[in-house]
Symmetry: C2
Subunit: 341 residues, 2 copies
DNA sequence: CTGAAAGCGCTTACAG
DNA sequence: CTGAAAGCGCTTACAG
């Protein structure tokens, strides 16, 4: 049978209150008492029942984390960061993957969104789900949204400046001397994708240049591959391509390779996200590193501030991405691939 | 203030017992009572306190899942599968990433390994951690180990037959006509890696062939790249390479590409795991698909069997991988790359 | 079909 | 520094 706090108290010859105090590291316990209790705990292999603790304390010590999938490296890095941050605070991570269809996500969120079940919720989603916000507010559960670009509500959020990311990437190419710059952006419904394209446009406009071409698609290898293959077929290639993310960049390079077009000699490619493969596959991909660890840490911090009752509505923390130039970007060729001498 | 079961009872004009019954979907409630209770629940926006439920029921409805990292696609697929399986059963997923250093993992596991905190634990680890097993057994927490190849204890586990995987892959190459087959296996401390190599050796021996070469390294792009680059420098390349996983295969192809050696015309490559990129980057990688979803489902099933008290010690469920031939494997060339006419 | 009572295992004031 | 008492919000027999 599992030992309870009463067993420990009895064995140690003290009251359960004292046992509770040493469990909770209260300082007001005589050293000798503490010792006896510790000994009893050891001997009985006692571990406090967390359900009882939660009930008595009115808090569960678990934080819910909602994520859209388990495949995106950026997301996984944030999850890892959150996991670590929570752990140092003695909190648990209850993970829930929000499926695609609405019913599904409804069930899941309701499941997680029970007060007393979680002390707070972290939402990591590229898409703004209004019903989550409503639901969470209804139930009075503290929450913060991470990596979301919409915040017209009084909602705490941690965002990464994607406009700056898109801008920086373009500046990099501009400074290398490129003028014919194309862009394969992410999907329209993702504001992060939108913002990167906006940053691109801003930077171009600033120097009085027109985008060579702009296409949009999913954050996927196939998007990059298909679009670039089409461009090649059309014999209309810029001297540099800004990709919405690294998957697109890998796909773009894949298509280029099949046509023996060299990167970066013939064309420069730059991605976004710093996928693990970016620094491993050759040539090493120039890209943008998002502060994933920072996002996780700040998210947890903001959530705990809120849980502590700091009435900090609508706190928005904006983090900056960092460009990492590697081997896929260089000066433009004298002549574009399909240009005549 | 949050509504309790008493508020609901009062408003509905019944006792808390009846409310409890409708919450728990007991059939022994008069329709009219049930209706009143439902109405009160709606009006008060009542949600049962899960800590109280856990305490009263003696179970938490949460399952702990221990994983080594958040980057391996196979692992993530299993996590997803477990998440779904748990959800349909009304269970929560408490995730914990086991860090590298021992201290760390100790802290984490102790944290998760509290009876009453979790009803059961699923361990997904390529390395057999004896202290986990001991600890879990001590505390009498049901658990099952997934994707582990060692099971000398009375421990339930779900394993995938890596020997068969290695064997099948080799047969595939053999049937295409290859005789000079090399292998870049995963690390020595991973039994899964070991088994794949064993499968390779077995298949070769069966047809009276010697392995052309066998090297080992981490499951990493760099391993494949470095080893193949070395082979190229040594002018000693087999006509087919069996890679311990897809990362190694990607690295191998990367090195080959830099030397303009064609896949599969000059050399065949086959990976393991069916990484998302395997079917996207060109040429599409021949590989082995592990039954990740199945592993998750069976793991959850086995765990629940155990939780229900089925005294099923040492249940081992062995699942089979499936080879997926794609475009990186074909008949061997007339002459090896470095062979003279 | 329904409810009074006891209990799940802790923590929190309060009093000393 | 310590303990008696009440309470956290539910569920589980038990009796009716």
């Amino acid at each position: 049978m599992k030992a309870s706090i009463y067993d420990v108290a009895e064995r140690a010859g003290v009251s359960v209150v004292t046992v509770s105090r040493v469990i909770n590291k209260a300082t007001t316990v005589r050293a000798s008492s503490k010792e006896k209790v510790m000994k009893a705990i050891k001997e009985l292999n006692y571990q406090p029942n967390s359900a009882a603790q939660s009930l008595a304390r009115g808090k569960s010590n678990v934080i819910g984390l909602l994520i859209p999938n388990l495949t995106d490296p950026f997301i996984m890095e944030v999850v890892d960061s959150v996991d670590r941050a929570l752990e140092t605070k003695g909190y648990f991570l209850a993970l829930s993957v929000i499926g695609g269809n609405d019913n599904d996500s409804d069930v899941r969120s309701n499941f997680l969104f029970q007060q007393e079940r979680v002390d707070g919720v972290l939402i990591l989603t590229p898409i703004f789900e209004e019903n989550y916000v409503t639901s969470l507010k209804d139930k009075n559960i503290p929450f913060v949204i991470m990596d979301n670009q919409i915040f017209p509500y009084t909602v705490s959020s941690i965002v990464v400046d994607n406009i700056k990311g898109g801008y920086d990437v373009t500046r990099h190419l501009l400074e290398l001397g490129h003028t014919k710059i194309g862009c394969i952006g992410g999907p329209y419904h993702l504001l992060s994708a939108e913002h990167r394209v906006t940053g691109f446009k801003n930077a171009m406009q600033e120097v009085g240049l027109e985008p060579f071409v702009i296409k949009r698609g999913d954050f996927d290898v196939e998007t990059g591959y298909d679009i670039v293959a089409q461009w090649i077929q059309d014999k209309a290639l810029p001297t540099a391509i800004i990709c919405g993310d690294d998957h697109i960049a890998f796909g773009a390079m894949d298509a280029l390779r099949e046509h023996a077009i060299r990167v970066p000699e013939d064309i420069s490619i730059i991605g976004y996200d710093d996928h693990p493969f970016a620094s491993k596959l050759h040539p090493h991909l120039s890209t943008v590193k998002q502060p994933a660890v920072e996002v996780g840490i700040k998210g947890v911090e903001a959530l705990f501030d809120q849980m502590r009752g700091k009435k900090v509505n609508n706190i928005v923390i904006k983090l900056e991405p960092e460009i990492i130039p590697r081997s896929t970007t260089s000066m433009p060729p004298e002549l574009g691939i399909f240009e005549e001498d």
